[in-house]
């Protein structure tokens, strides 16, 4: 099968194509590799005026982040807001996606367009009224503020994706559950969602990612108390004692959960990404 698929390209073309792909690979991996390398450099090595490739790796910059820059607060804020947003999105989206999947509603097109618009809404257009409203409610610089502004994006994303996954669950399963006397809520929670577990996993990851990676909302809505890691990293840059090895250690810490997710649950994530766009 795979042999037949490669037919049509001559040996020279294959070599050229291979070189093109290798160059692309190098272009896309070297910057991150060098950033990781820097994170493990001792401060003295990192401050030399030329790139350093050989050194004894240390964890000094990571230790310094927690000891000198109280990194733990932003880290906890990031975890709370991302996990919270992901859970909220799945809880709100799951019943809606199930209803959309099983119904033959005439206004499904309008619903789909609204969801797409919510997903596409420029963050600046939400952050401006959110800032003004939260200012009056005393919600600025709280995790709740972040959870609220992440809602439209993550709920829309989760509904769009889950609907695609639930469409793939055969309706005979619903009917079998109904014959056993299960109502819609029990059918969804006990039967349908467990069957669509890979879909739920990818939706959970993608909504987590949106909140974890966000920069603009924490920047304008939080300050000292509810700052997340992306914002804290940016603030470190302003302090003149900070070294690049420490910034890169922060970058590694911020990216580590995502790399772990991509390695362990990569196939769910790929499924989610493709379901959301090019199904």
């Amino acid at each position: 099968m795979s042999r037949r698929r490669t037919d049509g390209l001559g040996p020279v073309a294959k070599v050229l194509a291979g070189i093109f792909l290798l160059v692309l690979l190098a272009f896309f991996t070297l910057p991150t590799l060098y950033a990781v390398l820097t994170a493990f450099q001792p401060p003295l090595v990192a401050s030399r005026p030329s790139p350093q490739w050989l050194f004894t790796p240390t964890l000094d910059s990571f230790r310094s982040l927690f000891v000198d820059y109280s990194f733990i607060g932003p880290l906890l804020n990031s975890i709370q807001s991302s996990v919270g947003s992901s859970l909220l999105a799945v809880v709100i989206a799951a019943p809606a996606a199930y209803a959309l999947s099983r119904g033959r509603s005439s206004n499904a097109g309008a619903m789909g367009f609204w969801l797409l618009c919510a997903r596409a809404l420029p963050a600046i257009g939400v952050s401006i009224p959110a800032y003004a409203i939260f200012n009056q409610l005393g919600l600025n610089d709280t995790i709740v503020a972040l959870l609220l502004v992440y809602l439209p994006y993550n709920v829309a994303l989760a509904t769009i994706l889950l609907r695609v996954f639930l469409d793939g669950v055969p309706r005979e399963i619903d009917e079998a559950a109904a014959i056993d006397g299960a109502g819609p809520v029990r059918t969804l929670v006990r039967v349908i969602l467990p069957v669509a577990r890979p879909g739920v996993a990818s939706v959970g990851i993608m909504t987590f990612l949106f909140a974890w990676n966000n920069f603009l909302f924490p920047l304008v809505l939080t300050g000292s108390k509810a700052a997340t890691v992306p914002l804290a990293l940016q603030q470190f840059l302003g302090s003149y004692t900070l070294q690049w090895n420490e910034v890169m250690a922060g970058v590694v810490l911020l990216s580590l959960p995502l790399i772990l997710l991509a390695v362990t649950l990569g196939r769910y994530l790929v499924g989610g990404v493709s379901a959301g766009s090019v199904k």
Binding site: L9, F28, L121, V126, I128, V270, S274
Partner: protein
Amino acid sequence: MTVLDRHAPAPTRRMSTRRRAASAAWRRAFLTPLLVVLAATTVLPLLYMLALSLGPRQGQLTVGAPQGLHNYRDLLTSTAVWHALGLAVVFLVGALVVELVLGLTAALLLDRLLPGNPVVRTLLLWPAVLPPIAVALVFKYLLQGDVGLVSYYLAQVGVDQAWLTEPVSALAVIVAIDVWQYTPFVILLALTALTAVPDEVREAAALDGAGPVAVARRVVLPMIKPAVIAIAMLRFIDAIQVFPTIYALTRGGPGTSTQLLTYFNYQAFFGQLQFGYGAAIAVLVVAFTIVCVMLLLAWQRRAEAS
């Protein structure tokens, strides 16, 4: 992905009227939380923003009696706004064209050389899941003065460019970072779309005497056109909002040469505290985005129909 491959057959039994009414009732109930949340987090803030944009240009965060359209008049006559919009369009066209051309080429090659390789797919996903601010900080470091990795080795071979302090190269860097982060993502999505193209179609075209390039251009690409437009839409939604890169690398500078729409809007509202005027700019940003999404959607429908 296996769940996606099974097709749900149409319900065979006719439901009684009573059961149908009950099923409509639970569906409405299941949709209610979503509708309430969407209304409260999209419609409500947008209305508040509209009200804010009708108030005084500067300094008032609460909504009072509307004062008229003066903020919009200022907006339409301000060259700074059009400059910011123009820069955003230059950025969008530059980044999307490079990402789609590079991404589709690489995807077509990968689909021939390493079809369905899971390791390749996971690797392609990596840059796209990284936080944009992390990527921005890495590139700031790589381009740092004379000591950054990229600027150091380029200087060694005689390319001495102050990347972030020249208007054109600063904008080019912002485009390049977007290309770096999202081209692999475009490859990944294009690969997924390509798996839907049956081998027989290519073989038939090859039998008619078409070479591999001609097969790709005349047969394969037209078949995945709707998917390519969907990818472009996904990239558009993110790219129109480019912000962390600009915030971390240039702060809109040098001068106003990287003050793209979102950053310009941020500056007006949160930097200069022009709350009414900033809200009016944001209304423009939202309208521009939604119109572009509608155009892309219409284009995709037409591509699907043909």
